[in-house]
Point group: D2
Chain length 123, copies 4
């Protein structure tokens, strides 16, 4: 059975990144400051694929397998550096996401924010 | 048993995000273009925590539980939007990361790049 | 006569930033690395104003004086840090822009790129 | 006399950008949303030059004329898109910077912030 998101734990992906860094003795470059920069740079490279498209056209990227593969490559870099940062700082990503989604659910109650991303009186 | 990176699959986190978006009917705002912007913005907010620190000082952030919790919150946003983008575009994150690490291993052979992040003749 | 873009030189704005930094003895924090991070963070804050808008809606922001003032504030931060970086590295911004526009004119000949941002065979 | 920051007004640089865009009929792509993305992407490319350097090493970049020229190229892109955004939204950059520096001077009084970038009780 091939590995995919359904049978891969976050810890398995973290180990993949940690081993790659250890094999190259790159931890010396992986200060949290540097990794946060690398992450922001990869996020910008990902964004570059959507830069000149309208919001609607960006939805139709799924029709273009080559473009999706390129975006997947960039997304891998973003998540990879996110996990590298989690490794350096000892943060449990699953716990952090669950905790944040609890906060978000309070900040954006479903009834009040259905179909809108801000309150009427906000700009 | 509490859930953590060792017993949480990527698909479980993806579903957490997908449900949150669906309950608010926010898919209309989640064009890939918009989500890529949100991701880059969150990556910048994460970077902000390290902005004025030296690279060495950024390693000592682990001594400060409050700072680590704040960084964990931002990291959750970054990974959360990464998964939201994967959901919109139908990208398997685990597959994309494994494929990218194979490419990276060829691009940066361990023997040649041990302790260095570029070749001698590169600037 | 009030000062505006027509009667203000780039050097005058650079001096405004340099004096501000000197008065606070902030040059110690203004390593080029740190300033480049600050610049990217401000660019993300600027982008945040357009995050959930369609491309067309973003053009209509000019109807909203409050929003334009807020965007002007962020743009001031971006240009301010750009000039701070130029100050730290001794780069003449006007010269750099003119040189870059000569390169761009060669890379994107007006005849070939009129109404398009890439060649037909590019993706 | 060659043109440089001392004898170039912001308006002259803005016109250089506006003419380039008009000659290619690129205003159709230059929605404020798209330009803000381009600006953030260029800021990330600029940052890339400092990504793996320590803060101190980034100060010594001035010893390397080739590196400074490359950084100048990226800085030109950042300021260029900043002016393109100002053009699209009708923002006077000089006015915005002066207004922001007045705000900043109140927020960061020189006496209180000399040699520090935050108050003692802030984290």
């Amino acid at each position: 059975m091939s590995s995919n998101d359904s049978n891969t734990t976050v810890a398995e992906l973290r180990k993949l990144i940690a081993d790659f860094v250890a094999e190259r003795d790159w931890s010396q470059f992986h200060s949290p400051k540097n990794v946060s920069m690398a992450l922001a740079i990869e996020a910008a490279e990902l964004m570059e694929h959507f830069q000149w498209l309208t919001t609607e056209a960006s939805r139709r990227l799924t029709d273009d397998p080559k473009a999706i593969a390129d975006v997947g490559d960039e997304l891998a870099d973003v998540v990879g550096y996110s996990l590298a940062l989690a490794n350096e700082l000892g943060i449990d990503v699953s716990h952090a996401i669950r905790a944040k989604m609890v906060k978000n659910a309070k900040k954006y109650p479903a009834d009040e924010f259905r179909g809108r991303y801000r309150r009427d009186n906000e700009i």
